[in-house]
């Protein structure tokens, strides 16, 4: 009779230094449980206070998540940033916490810029007077430099981004994330936990292979009590430039994001089509919303962004 390998616990060790050490549900069965549970409580992390101070001047924080790679998180984060910053009265900051694959510098047209330090901290890169950007990409010497770091080192840098960057007073801080539900995601939520995060926009493409990972991301948001602003279905339909017929390159075989959003009880923010000019704008570091503002795709972006509801709403003309 063959034994079946048991399911894994999806929860992780809370950390031997954490408040929950030894007491979390993931702790049962761990050989270290007694030691952790009886240990003296650790002094609070002084960085948390510093992060709270830096973030005090940030009115709205929006995380852009997926779970699935390559669905358009960075593309969306960039268009969101460009879109809001078109109103010169708004101060926008875009933070890229994808440490291994930082796409934001290229997409924002500031590849190759370097970060400068001053008394008030690290200066973000200003793409416009009211639009600043930070990414590990700016800390690398060459485009070939790979950041081959394990979790703890990545977490350290994310903390530094929140603690040491002098964002100034910001209306919107948009955080672009890598795919997954791991160190970077746990860390950003943890470090921002002492501040108010408006919520997360979750990006997916229409296929089930994508939705599989995105449902997990939504489970993650619920687990860490991160409000979900809504789901966006990207790369939804392609219009042939020659014959104008529509094709579904990534078919929504299980109903796409709209059905998933309904099933999981979260807002569906809309669909963004596949327009080859979007990828091209990203490659060239230009704002698609500005370069092709009359395109159906740009209209779709504006509609999705204007439909995002959290504490307040964004109004793109």
């Amino acid at each position: 009779m063959q034994v079946i390998v048991p399911s894994v616990s999806v929860l992780d060790c809370p950390g031997t230094e954490s408040e929950d050490a030894g007491k979390a549900s993931a702790c049962s069965g761990c050989p270290n449980q007694e030691i952790c549970a009886s240990a003296k409580p650790r002094a609070p992390d002084p960085d948390v206070g510093q992060v709270r101070e830096r973030m005090a001047g940030v009115k709205h924080k929006i995380l852009v998540l997926s779970g699935k790679g390559g669905v358009g998180k960075s593309t969306f984060s960039a268009q969101l940033a460009y879109g809001i910053a078109a109103d010169e009265a708004k101060q926008v900051a875009l933070l890229d916490i994808d440490i291994c694959g930082p796409s934001i510098p290229r997409i924002m047209g500031c590849d190759g810029e370097q970060v400068h330090q001053s008394n008030s901290g690290w200066s973000p890169i200003y793409v416009e007077d009211n639009l600043s950007v930070m990414s590990v990409g700016f800390l690398l010497g060459s485009p070939d430099d790979a950041v081959i770091w394990r979790g703890p080192k990545k977490n350290g840098l994310i903390k530094q981004f929140l603690r040491d960057v002098d964002w100034g007073d910001v209306d919107y801080l948009i955080v672009d994330t890598p795919p997954g539900t791991s160190d970077e995601h746990l860390s950003i939520v943890q470090y921002l936990s002492s501040t108010h995060v408006d919520g997360a926009v979750v990006i997916t493409t229409p296929q089930e292979v994508s939705l599989l990972d995105v449902r997990k991301e939504i489970s993650f948001c619920r687990k860490v009590k991160l409000p979900i602003i809504g789901v966006v279905e990207n790369m939804s339909g392609f219009v042939c430039p020659k014959c104008k017929h529509q094709s579904q390159i990534f078919p929504p075989t299980t109903g796409g994001a709209e059905k998933m959003a309904k099933d999981m009880g979260i807002p569906f923010l809309g669909r963004l089509p596949l327009d080859p000019r979007i990828g091209k704008s990203c490659d060239e570091g230009k704002s698609f919303l500005t370069e092709h503002e009359d395109s159906p795709a740009a209209a779709a972006y504006r509609s999705v962004i204007n439909g995002m509801e959290y504490d307040s709403m964004i109004h793109l003309p």
């Binding site: 399911s7 999806v10 699935k68 430099d145 042939c240 430039p241």
Partner: protein, 275 residues
């Protein structure tokens, strides 16, 4: 450390499918390569070390299967009755499909190590390892643990655009730093042929992968087009060759396989000093 005998003792070729960039088609390419090799009569293993977003099980219609244990270890989940394609993934170890594996590095590393040491693959001609995007815990751990069995190398996957290739450059650096040979690059999602009028549109640009191969002196294994039929097959866990046998995409995949096999052969010959 792990003894040389413990790691994959009966595997002919160990191949890693890497990118650096997410969503370029690593899992799709890994699965299609595996299926093509099986169709060519080989015995293949497919190991998915993407713990947060394991796609391989879905792509082969193996969701919901359990991992059975025998005296030699964990048995792979077989995709076919003749057991030519064995699969291992954390997807088989979740209570519910929507469960998110919210693990930090150390726990992920332990799981990957287990996949390498505890699975009774049996004799395989090829073991293909599908990875998540990035150059982090999963990648460091798998390369470290494979050292004793001399993996043949990495297959890089990218779409043609600069944003993708920007990350693939870093993955190439990762390979160099970890002394992992690079077998070549596959340019995926390379052009979309409109089914209505046959006009080819370069949705994600074009030619970038081939240029990359030239610039960085690595073999160009081929290009695979954007094909909704391929997406459909990965959605339904079907083999493209079985469902759409006349599709040009199949030829594209076979070309990649042929080029890959040629690469492996020339490297083996070089190692053994034959002409």
């Amino acid at each position: 450390g792990i003894m040389a005998d413990d790691i994959l003792p009966n595997v002919g070729h160990v191949l890693l499918v890497l990118s650096g960039k997410g969503g370029v088609g690593k899992s799709t390419v890994a699965t299609q390569l595996a299926l093509a090799l099986v169709e060519a009569g080989k015995k293949v293993g497919l190991l998915d070390i993407d713990l947060c977003g394991p796609s391989v099980a879905k792509m082969l219609d193996l969701e919901g299967r359990d991992i059975h244990q025998c005296s030699d270890g964990w048995l792979p989940v077989y995709a076919d009755p003749s057991q030519q394609l064995g699969v291992m993934s954390i997807a088989f170890m979740l209570s519910h499909r929507d469960d998110a594996i919210v693990w930090r590095g150390p726990k992920k590393n332990a799981m990957i190590k287990q996949f390498l040491t505890d699975v009774a693959w049996g004799e395989l001609e090829y073991l293909i390892i599908d990875t998540p995007p990035g150059t982090s815990d999963e990648h460091i751990t798998v390369v470290e643990n494979l050292q004793s069995c001399n993996p043949d190398g990495a297959i890089l996957v990218s779409t043609p655009q600069a944003v993708s290739l920007g990350d693939v450059r870093r993955e190439l650096s990762f390979c160099k730093r970890t002394h992992l040979p690079v077998l070549g690059i596959v340019e995926n999602m390379s052009g979309f042929v409109c089914p209505h009028c046959s006009e080819c549109t370069n949705v994600f640009s074009s030619g970038g992968g081939e240029a990359f191969a030239q610039d960085f002196h690595i073999p160009f294994l081929g290009r695979i087009p954007l094909d909704p039929k391929l997406s459909q097959c990965t959605e339904e866990g079907q083999s493209l060759a079985k469902v759409f046998p006349t599709s040009p995409t199949i030829q594209a995949v076979r070309t990649v396989v042929d080029n890959l096999v040629a690469q492996l052969k020339s490297r083996t010959n070089a190692k053994h000093g034959s002409t």
